[in-house]
């Protein structure tokens, strides 16, 4: 079949905006050069004032939520940031950062590479959004009801969809639960975290409990963050650990990491 009498290619002349808009950041131009700023405002607050009077955690919260956090919320966010600051040297994202370092790659690439792997759907940032949606959908329901629905499953399937909750290497993770217990001791609104904790206690029988992604999802839900934003927030919070591990190996010889021997390399 040959080509048909197609429309001749022509622009749709769509109405694009003349300027990009932002509600986050205002840059006031200097008097003599329109490319140079004389002040920056984050959601209305002068950045110099913020630097003088507020913590990094406060300003991070402000950037994404548009308002400064309460002292309680700032403390909760800071706790989460420390919980997630380093996925550890066995996490694939950290190992990617370490491979970048040991391979003598430009250090500017360590974070983009590590964070990209951290964006994965398995134990990575892309698990946080579905986890938050799972929590949003269920947190108003009694835990027992949700557990029963999950147990029945669709078409009696044995597969459970509990993003952010599960097991690693055959058993439940230990540390996320400890962080949850600590955060629950802090003053503040823990509605989602409490619900999810109750859920985990019930699901423990099925080898399902907190994963770091679920921890992030529950805490960030309670702090009012949007699910899609939290993909990147999770990456951001893990960035220090990725960079530290990558840089630790950047000045070492390539022999400072294992290289699987030919005997242990099998083409199947």
């Amino acid at each position: 079949m040959s080509s048909q009498n197609r429309t001749k290619v022509k622009s749709r002349k769509e109405a694009f905006v003349e300027k990009t808009e932002t509600r986050i950041w205002y840059e006031e131009p200097s008097n003599d050069n329109p490319y140079i700023t004389k002040s920056n405002h984050c959601h209305g607050y002068d950045i110099l004032e913020l630097a003088k009077k507020r913590s990094f955690v406060d300003v991070l919260y402000l950037l994404f939520r548009g308002e400064l956090p309460t002292a309680e919320n700032a403390k909760i966010l800071e706790h989460l940031m420390i919980a997630l600051i380093n996925p550890g040297p066995r996490h694939p994202a950290t190992r990617a950062a370490m491979n970048t370092g040991i391979g003598k790659t430009d250090p500017a690439h360590i974070l983009p590479i590590g964070l990209t792997i951290m964006g994965g759907e398995h134990s990575g940032a892309s698990e946080v959004e579905p986890s938050m949606r799972f929590l949003r959908k269920n947190r108003k329901k009694p835990v027992n009801e949700v557990v029963d629905i999950l147990r029945r499953g669709k078409n009696n399937s044995e597969e459970l969809l509990t993003p952010g909750f599960g097991s690693k290497f055959g058993s439940v993770e230990i540390l996320p639960q400890k962080f949850v217990d600590q955060i629950l001791q802090l003053p503040g609104d823990h509605q989602t975290l409490e619900w999810a904790n109750e859920f985990c206690k019930r699901m423990n029988t099925f080898n399902i409990s907190w994963l770091p992604t679920g921890l992030a999802a529950a805490v960030l839900s309670d702090l009012g963050f949007q699910p899609r934003t939290c993909i990147g927030i999770f990456q951001l919070l893990s960035a220090p650990g990725l960079l530290a591990h990558g840089m630790e190996l950047a000045n070492k010889p390539v022999t400072a990491m294992p290289f699987i021997s030919d005997e242990n390399y099998v083409i199947e």
Binding site: T7, S11, E21, E27, Y35, H43, L160, P163, N264
Partner: protein
Amino acid sequence: MKTMSLNDKKINTEIWDSNRNIIKSHKGGWFPGKGVFSHGYNMMEDFVGKKSYMQIVLLNATGRLPDRKIADWFEAIHICLSWPDPRIWCNQIGALAGTSRTSVVAATVTGVLASDSRAYGAKTIKAGLEFIQYAYSQYTSGKTVEEIVTTECAKHAGKPYIMGFARPIAKGDERVDAMERTTRNLGIEVGKHLELAYKIEKILLEKFDESMNINGYMSAFLSDNGFTPDEAYRICSVVVASGVTACYVDSKDKEADTFLPLHCSDIKYTGKAPRDLPD
């Protein structure tokens, strides 16, 4: 997404233990002194100087070594899907990388990463194949082309937003004619999926003055030639790379910060007015 079996209560680490300190590859590998192997082939002896680069790209993405003409067709479509215009989103990342003096590799891969998009790039190719293969299954189950088009348009308030048909920014698609010519020159026959795509296009032209775009042509062609949506996605993962590189080079070879510089006032601030910081 985490899935877990209800009956999985006993700790069993066998699958991980059996993979510690050993790599089991279904693809290939390099054994110093013996050779470099890919899918059972000796790469230096069987490929170099004998097969095209694109044949090897397809082999690595699908596990099948294709005919040269299919690989040549893929090479042609890569030309269609990337060009040096920095107004295109992924290409603009290349240009911004150039004006910021990153490396060319950083520029190109970040542009490629940007093309992992629901709106354009490799992911839309996967969606295109999914659509035409679904539509074909509907068609062979007895639905008319008219019904298929009506059902799809109904998902978008009656508008002809069907993956592979119509196109943002412009009407029409000059690349379809170029690839039809390429297909003819390579002696590749039109198959059932492409026949259906033409029938869908005919209705869209009559009703909306909208035609098939390159995604639609490519998706139907690849479906006719036995490719799955995931295989097409994998083969085309870096399809925008060369255009990004070109845009990087263009701005890298000019003064820093000269690619679309912005006055402060070129950004429209719509947020809160300056306010005092509470103590």
